[in-house]
Symmetry: C2
Subunit: 233 residues, 2 copies
Amino acid sequence: MSAPIIVLVAPQLGENIGAAARAMGNFGLSELRIVTPRDSWPNPAAQAMAAHAAGIVDNATIFDSLEEAIGDCRRVYATSARLRDMNKPVVTARAFGEEYDPEMKTAILFGRENSGLNNDEVTQAHALLHIPVDESCPSINLAQAVILVAYEWFQAQQEHPLVTNENDAPAPMHELEGFFTQLESALDTVNFWKVMDKKPRMTRNIRNLFLRAEPTDQEVQTLRGIVSALRRQ
Amino acid sequence: MSAPIIVLVAPQLGENIGAAARAMGNFGLSELRIVTPRDSWPNPAAQAMAAHAAGIVDNATIFDSLEEAIGDCRRVYATSARLRDMNKPVVTARAFGEEYDPEMKTAILFGRENSGLNNDEVTQAHALLHIPVDESCPSINLAQAVILVAYEWFQAQQEHPLVTNENDAPAPMHELEGFFTQLESALDTVNFWKVMDKKPRMTRNIRNLFLRAEPTDQEVQTLRGIVSALRRQ
């Protein structure tokens, strides 16, 4: 059984990275990936705050881009305080724990302390992971958000671990990314966007649509085949 | 409807007090009581970490003893990583949220960062509040423990707030404390303990027994009457 991977996107404070690692350890998570941390790495403040979970910080992997960090994952959740104007499923932290499937390598993305994840980053996820909060004081500290998700995962695993059919597993993200790149390049060629200002938003909408489908490896190959075939015309 | 009161017992770091206040604000809690904080109060570090919840820190009340801090509460939970050798009900954070009764003024006790609550402090509670964790890394940061309890309370309130019959409400703690003091003094008089080394443990066991019963105001009066009557003999 594999536990979800925690991905911190552009975290600012080493203290928060360390506190997030400690929170992971409290609830049985061990794999930490960090995309472009603001400060240099290794970060002594992260080590100090991790306490007994220093091993999680030691073994953390640093990535230059979110795409690389989630390339091998088959399901990706983006934590978000705000509900975005995107056609993407929204699950609560509790529902995430309940629907978690150990056969699918899963990443959970957490954004910057001051501004969270941007829309392009959220777009790369299959679903939004939402923590219902009191609206008068909605800003949750980074490590606090990590512990709530880790906690819900751990509690759900105690109760009812799920296993599904491996053949139905969604394709890993690097395959989907390959498809998106091919598709968008093809659309560039045919001047699909017309007004280039609209490309970023249209691109996001398209990615969201395919991500909702959670295509399998075989289906991604089919999609790539379709684009290739159309392009050759 | 009243939300539970968070009671920090002898907290060491202002940063943790502030982070706990922020966590409270995220999930709709507002009343913070602090028993003998290590550092002087007000504490600028607590203010800084509280972020948008600074008002909770400003309005926190400081107490010289746990007895005073919980005197007006009718139900008291002691958070504890360890399950103690005490005959006291144990509820998980989730079960706490589900059984919470807004008609009963409720306090949740959190201990020192380095050593938690001692046995005498735990004895003053009706129940242990336990957060199931991964045993390889069980030590939860103070503010992280606060947010998990606050989170569970908030989620449960969204779903199914409970209300019970006010006549059945357990007596406030200061009444129980009065009864315990009277009882223990009476037992001193009759040399009940025999070996004085055993008094602390026996006292705890007796208190735990009565606390499990959650006696009402009327029942506490009855108990006091019994002790008085026996003593007069």
